[in-house]
Amino acid sequence: MDLHDFPALFQQKIDSETKIEPLDWMPDAYRKTLIRQISQHAHSEVVGMLPEGNWISRAPSLKRKAILIAKVQDEAGHGLYLYSSCETLGTSREATINDLHSGKAKYSSIFNYPTLTWADMGAIGWLVDGAAILNQVMLCRTSYGPYARAMVRICKEESFHQRQGFDILYTLSKGTDEQKAMCQDAINRWWWPSLMMFGPKDSESNNTDQSMKWKIKRKTNDELRQQFVDMCAEQVKVLNMTLPDQELKWNTETQHYDFGEINWDEFWNVVKGNGPCNKERLDARRKAHDEGEWVREAAKAYAKKRAGKNKHIAA
C-alpha cells in the first residue's frame, strides 16, 4: 500500500479499532457525518431540557424537585460535552448553535411532544432516557475519539435518569386509582414516540452502509429498537401496566417480542416540523439565547477590563 494512500490508511485504522483523533486525516464525508450527528445529538440534549423543565416548579415534593433539577442539569452538561466534541472537528460553537436556532439543524423529535402530567416525568425517564441509553452505550465504542469519550462520561451520568423515571412510575402504580390511570396514560402517550427515536426501519435505507463501515454506528436502528422493546415489555410488568400495542407478544422462535407497526407518517411529520411542540421548543431556545446576549457581552467586557488591570499591576 502506498504510504500516502490516506483513505486506505484511514479505513485500516478503523478496521483495527484504532480511534480517530481530531488532528488525524479523515475523509471529508466522515467529518461531515460526524458534525451532523454530534450536533443533532447535542441539540437533543439541550432541547430535551425543555419538556422536563416544564415540571420543575410543579414537582410533587421537594425530593422530586431536587432530583428533577439534577437530571435537567445533567442534560445541560451532556449538551456541552457534545458541543465540545463537535468543535474538535473544526466547527465553531456559535455556528452550531445558530444552526439549531435558525431551524437548519435537527434534534430528536421526541422532544416535540408535550408533557401534560407529572407522570410524564416518569415516562420520559424510563422510556426516553432508556432509549437514549441504548444508543449511547453503543456510541461509547464509536470510532471518533472525542465522541466516544463524551459518550462514556454521559453514560455514567445517565444511569440515574432512567432509574428515577421508573421510580416515579412505580410510585404512581402503587397509588390511588387516579394515579394509576395517570401512570398508564403517560406510558400510552410516550411509548410509540419512544420507538420512533431509533429512526426509520433498516429496510427503508440504502444498502451502502457507510456509517457502519466507518464504525460511527455499530448497531442498526432495528437492532436497537428490538433490544428496547424486549427490555420494556418485561419491565412494564413490574409496574402492573401495559404497553399500548395489541400485537406485542413473545415469539418463542426468535426469542424476541414481536410488536406492531410504527406510524411513520407521524414520524416524518414531526421531523419536518409539524409536531405538537416544534415551534414552542425553538422559540424557547431562541428566546433564552437572545435574552442571554447582554450577559455574554458584559462578561467579556468585564474579563477584558480585569485583564487590563492585572497587566497594569505587573508592570
Binding site: 483523533e21 488532528l23 486525516w25 471529508d28 464525508a29 461531515k32 451532523r36 450527528q37 443533532q40 437533543s44 442539569q73 445533567d74 445541560a76 452538561g77 456541552l80 460535552y81 465540545s84 468543535e87 460553537r93 456559535e94 445558530n98 436556532h101 435558525s102 431551524g103 437548519k104 435537527k106 430528536s108 432509549a131 444508543n135 463524551a150 462520561r153 451520568e157 427515536m197 431509533f198 429512526g199 426509520p200 435505507s205 440504502n206 451502502t208 457507510q210 456509517s211 457502519m212 454506528k217 442498526t220 436502528n221 436497537l224 416524518w268 421531523v271 419536518k272 416540523g273 416544534n278 446576549e293 455574554r296 457581552e297 462578561a299 467579556k300 468585564y302 474579563a303 480585569r306 485583564a307
Partner: protein, 123 residues
Amino acid sequence: MQSFIKKYYYGDIPDDVAGSTTVISKEINKDATWPLWEVFIRSKQGLDHKHAGSLHAADAQMAIENARDVYTRRNEGVSIWVVESKYIHSTNPDEAESFYEPAADKIYRHPTFYDLPDAVKHM
C-alpha cells in the same frame, strides 16, 4: 452532503429529508462569544491532572467555575486546571512515524531485554 451516505440512524436525520423548517439566519455577534478553554482535573490527591474536556468562558475564573459545574458534579475532582485552548501546542500526527522513530530501535531500554540467570530473584 455526499450522496453515498444513504443510511441514517437515531439522532442523525440528513439534510435532504429533514423537511422544510423555515430557516431564520442570524448574524453571530462576535462581542458575545467567549474563548475556548481546556479543562484538566485531578481526581484525587496523588494522581496527575487529566484532560476532562473543554468549555467556553470569558476568563480563567469563569472557566474554573464552569468546569466545576460540569465536570465535577459527582465529586470527580479535587483540583482543576484550565488553559485557553489556543495556548496548547501539539505534535503532528502525520509526522508521528519519523518523530517517534528514534525510540523504536532501543530495545535495551526495556528490562525484558536482559536475560538473567534464574538464581537472581526479584530484580
